[in-house]
Symmetry: C2
Subunit: 471 residues, 2 copies
Amino acid sequence: MRKEILYLKIARVLEEQVVNGTLKPGDKLPSLRSVQKMYNVSLNTAKLVFWELESKSLVESRPQSGYFVSPAAERKRSLPSVGKIKATYREQQPQDLITKVFDTLYDNEITQFSLGLPDQSLLPIAKLNKGIINAVRNMKDGGVSYEPVQGNLNLRRTVAKWSLILEGKITEDDIVTTSGTMNAIFNCLMAVTQPGDTVAVESPVYFGIIQIVTSLKLNVIEIPTHPVTGIDLDAVKKVLPKLNACCFISNFSNPLGCLMPDEHKKELVRMLTEYDIPLIEDDLYGNLFFGPSRPKPCKYYDEAGIVMWCGSVSKTLAPGYRVGWVAPGKYKDKIIHQKLLQTISTPSLYQEVVADFMNYGRYDHHLRTFRKTLYANCLRYQRAIEMYFPDHTRISQPQGGFMLWLELDKKVDTAELFDIAIKQKIGFAPGRMFTQYNQYNNCMRLNYGLAWNDKLEFDLKRLGNMVKDAL
Amino acid sequence: MRKEILYLKIARVLEEQVVNGTLKPGDKLPSLRSVQKMYNVSLNTAKLVFWELESKSLVESRPQSGYFVSPAAERKRSLPSVGKIKATYREQQPQDLITKVFDTLYDNEITQFSLGLPDQSLLPIAKLNKGIINAVRNMKDGGVSYEPVQGNLNLRRTVAKWSLILEGKITEDDIVTTSGTMNAIFNCLMAVTQPGDTVAVESPVYFGIIQIVTSLKLNVIEIPTHPVTGIDLDAVKKVLPKLNACCFISNFSNPLGCLMPDEHKKELVRMLTEYDIPLIEDDLYGNLFFGPSRPKPCKYYDEAGIVMWCGSVSKTLAPGYRVGWVAPGKYKDKIIHQKLLQTISTPSLYQEVVADFMNYGRYDHHLRTFRKTLYANCLRYQRAIEMYFPDHTRISQPQGGFMLWLELDKKVDTAELFDIAIKQKIGFAPGRMFTQYNQYNNCMRLNYGLAWNDKLEFDLKRLGNMVKDAL
């Protein structure tokens, strides 16, 4: 929709050459002058191109020699392997581990690689606070009254308007607001399943989803998930007759950061439509893309109304606001009923603030900066891990979001490593948290939505050393 | 705790004489001068006594004759009867009726006797809005971060501190904040029941509780409830072995407005403790007492930690804020787990605002005025109903809260009457909404938490005429 700025366009061309291997680590890039001539731009624009690439750790300048492809741009890392779902079921749920990790989250001295949230320093807090004061003034009653059960009208209207990727397929009337995405998923599962039903999820899967599903007495089928292309459609196909619902993060899944290709999304929706199985699509990372544009959600391909498309600002703007929404397709009435009986309504104020922030383009502006930071951080983390972690550490290549998934040597038990690291004031999320089975014990999830600095790099180095010691 | 102001003390003595029948409707009261002498007070204080009684519709002045007990002070009205629970089960749940009533709630032209909320004009909106702006300034991050799952510390501390009636039996650590009381009850039921379990509730019962219980696939036992003393303990005793949980509004239940006597509360907790049955105590109306002091909750008698005491400001201060809490006794960890998986955390801002409002005594001040208005309205409604409704209409005598329950002639079907009344822009809650059985079809609930004026009185008159026409 927006015209891409010239220097970014040129930077993207060079970036693609790096990514597809035309330019390899160590290769010299064309000089400033030749870029200037090649694209018929000013010297300043050419400089911006290289600075952009440098900010992403893709290139580095050497004194008197020009720009070279950085070793960090090496994209041929070993990917983590796809989960083997036949692993034995461990009697003890990973709940104790999850509780242990959560108990460390409010200790400010700990480097929180374990968090599933962006660092506060990356969020536009001052602007949001101004937004609150404006909203109180505009609302008159300050949110004292119940709003309609379906949720704040401004927010619903704004979400519909800004869901450009859906090309106008949803309106304010198709959306129900919720207390964040977790609450949207909880409501969806309450609406479309009965105790004893079976739900398909990714593997590794965000542990919160397993917690909800278990609490609702549902059975879980973990679908093998490729670190680049997401869930294995053949595996879904095999269990289709058993399923009562699916719950997938289609774009930049947590923890793998994988992105389902459009044709997979289309095929998934086709298969599920045939069996009339609801798809709870958790699209909370969709706006944090590193590619050229926001990926489509499965909802885009949904003609029958089986996709319940869930979103929020919890991962991008204000986790604590608990502002989320769902476009529940044909299950809308059921969702509204669930919301009514669980909480009657959602508080208005933060919804108004978010709606305003979106409406005046501030959200879009914030997202642009935020994505840049995240992508740069992702490359920095990958480079640091290559430098400081044991060889043969497998690293995911997220295409968006802010989670990195590492697969370490089989000998390393990351649940044990967690206890060692936390004593050194370093937290991470052990792999065992992300499955109901006895697997991923040698994996860990790292959050790169933190402010990059020497301390952070040093902590990655210390963590790498701990992994080496565990071998 | 607070020293009662002198004129209020004298007014209360006279009020008690009216209530216990020493002074009957039409009786002349002592003159201003004799009150002045009797209590050794100034003429002004004596005047305040009568104005206070007049504001409650207990007395009325007649020119040149002095004050007389008002006919509205007649307390010997026929009480509604206790529900007969052997009524047949109606296949069709009252859901359609509930939906129909809710669909009329956002029409400003309708007189909302049906609402379960106080009118906005009775709420301190301007002060609360100031509170929001102060809170944003004090919080720094404006609530962008997740707060701990257990909830906002300021609010927990303040609720513990201001729960004077519990005499220090709970601390901030015993409280979990929720999105209003409905959400507290939902969480409690999720925490302590399994599908197929059985829960005891009042009858008539607030329909939201039936909706939650049904949605969680639980069985409901409706316990006969006396319009003055609340649930029938013998009836509870008979079903004890079948019960997995109880969910009662102990103080000023909705819709009856009844108040369990202390000895009933004590005995209920004793019985349930013996069987280790959790009691979900919904105490959201407890601060809206008309008697001399706030009644104790069942939680006061709870030694074993089986009482999950739920409260909120939804009925007293700011329904839309969705600020509530629960002191879940020994089930605290289960509640925290439920909250985590359903919404992760509650938004901080409104919790901060409410905590501040309580801390600086503003809440207490507001409650004093609010209770006075409600009590005066209650008497005005009763008087209006006696004047405008058919004879033999039975009226509840709420001891707090803002709900009135009417039992009309058996010939009147209030579900049908609703359709007629709503065309005349008058809404009320038909009795059938408050039970899972085919009963209370000739009952209705009226909200007296509205601003009293001629229009409101006229609407009660119109409604009375519609009832007469239905005979």
